[in-house]
Amino acid sequence: MNSRIEIQRNILDFTLSSLLRRKTKNAVLMVVFTIVVFMLASIIFFTNAVKREAVAVLQNSPDIVVQRLSAGRHDLIPADYIKTITDMKGVVSVKGRHWGYYFEPAASANFTLVVPDDGGEEGRIVAGKGVSRTMRAGDGDILPLKSYKGEWVVLSIKGVLKSDSELVSSDLIEISEKDFRKIFGIPKDRFTDLSVTVRNPKETLTIAKKIKDSFPDTRPILRSEVLRTYDSLFNWRSGLLLIIAAGAVLAFIIFAFDRASGLSAEERREIGILKAIGWETSDVIAFKFWEGLVISLSSFMAGIILAYFHVFVAYAPLFEPVLKGWAVLYPEFRLVPFIDPFQIATLFFLTVLPYTAATIIPSWRSAVVDPDQIMRSQ
């Protein structure tokens, strides 16, 4: 048993010396491999962390949101719907909600204006961190917003939301109901949508159906649907991204295959020597196995570690251009590092496995050269 370990140690020793003798060639391979792993790992870490966080945080969003649709668009919902829905069995409470988007032309940024449960304090607002950053306005500053009539509504900032909640609040402005109506000109008996609280979560679907029956122009959105939207938010597209990234992986695999099968004359001679002086085919296969393992394991681990730092320590700067898009206001959110062994296993399957498969046959081919070849080819 010990001698078997000693054999593998010796072969690994030779493998490492062989890799070091061809430093540049192998370094290029490892760097490319590391980049591929890093890319895929960053995507998987990032999307998974966003999903997990969404599911954790949005557990507390409204049971049912009732939107009104008119000509296929969201429309303001009349206040008298509230009464009917409240009377339904199993409904605890119904609240009219005010929220909307405000385009700030100076910064050309979009803000989300929300009215809190308690109606808010007239003339004063609470700004999200992103708003405060974009407008360069802090606690105590004045933020004038233009109303639908073109008049300025001057609001003073009474507080800025902490940056640790930026993932939900970056572009928010908490505003009072009065100011909200003043800016957007919304009549007293209209709301953006309704939030319904249900007594028994199991009845949510029944109640949603009842609402739909009573008001055919509404669309109830269940919390479970919101959660599932986030659960699969990136699934489809991150799968798509992975397929695009698969192009990169494929290119890399071809590169690796080519490298493994196109041995240089020097490498071929070395294997010939090994076989001539008493290495067995399986020893050479072991040498090739270790070679693949050293390259793939080091690159794989390096890629994962780099991706972790990229996504959770540096907060995914490389994704910023993609996520930001044309947006001016970019939330600087700090993702909580959700990782689990299976993301690692998935990554392993996506990178190391095809690499290994691509090198099996070439390495076998190089291992079965005739031991006496070195004597014959002189």
Binding site: E6, I7, I273, A276, I277, G278, W279, M375, Q378
Partner: protein
């Protein structure tokens, strides 16, 4: 020690470029002697060496070795028949029984002298420190101890030749097989090489050399010359 019975080796059998390298070779090589196989190039010397040295299997015929024992291989009356063994077992026999010296030295460039010397011992699973001690001792004997950590490409021809001899000895084989060992050496180094061969033979090793170099064939240390031509032993 080695008996070769009616051995044939055919390359590319059944194809247009069929080539008979060995054609019914019959030979007995005695233990503890120096045998030289002589003949022009293409006469089958190298093929015979590789068949004897368990590097290749003959197409037909038998080769029997005495004095070897490998786990899993039956031993009939002190002989091991190597003819039908798979490569896996041939290699095990080979690395226990024979050390090889090649015409081109065949050292692995970029590795140090001591690493090159130790290479044949890597797959045996012997403890690293034991192999290293033995390698150092051997290098001392051959006057190469000072070049221990030199890369082999910086060695002179004579030094390279001695390193390859040390490498052939690292697993302490009972036989040495040398293929045209003096082809790249001048007369002085060639006779030095023959002195080394003599000393190895004095330690009891069986030595088989393929060569057409007169310094080897006419040397006083050798015991027997076998002449080959067209894949047959003619004398």
């Amino acid at each position: 020690m080695i008996s070769v019975v009616d051995v044939r080796k055919v390359f590319n059998a059944g194809k247009a470029n069929e080539y008979i390298a060995l054609d019914g070779v019959q030979l007995d090589i005695e233990k503890g002697r120096i045998t030289v196989i002589k003949g022009p190039s293409g006469s089958g010397k190298t093929t015979l060496l590789s068949v004897i040295g368990c590097m290749a299997r003959p197409s037909s015929g038998r080769i029997r070795l005495s004095g070897v024992s490998v786990e899993g291989i039956p031993d009939d009356e002190g002989y091991v028949e190597t003819t039908s063994l798979p490569e896996r077992f041939l290699t095990q026999i080979r690395r226990k029984t024979f050390g090889f010296i090649f015409q081109q030295y065949n050292l692995v460039a970029g590795m140090t002298v001591i690493e090159n010397v130790m290479l044949p011992a890597y797959p045996t699973g012997e403890a690293y420190s034991a192999v290293r001690n033995r390698a150092e001792d051997l290098l001392k004997i051959f006057g190469l101890y000072s070049r221990l950590d030199a890369k082999v490409q910086w060695l002179s021809g004579g030094e390279s030749q001695r390193v390859s001899i040390v490498r052939a000895l690292i697993n302490n084989p009972s036989g040495i097989i040398a293929d045209e060992p003096t082809a790249h050496l001048d007369t002085k180094l060639s006779s030095e090489f023959m002195n080394i061969i003599e000393s190895l033979n004095r330690e009891g090793r069986t030595i088989i050399i393929a060569s057409h170099d007169p310094v080897v064939c006419e040397s006083s240390v050798i015991h027997r010359v076998v002449e080959m031509r067209d894949g047959k032993v003619i004398r």
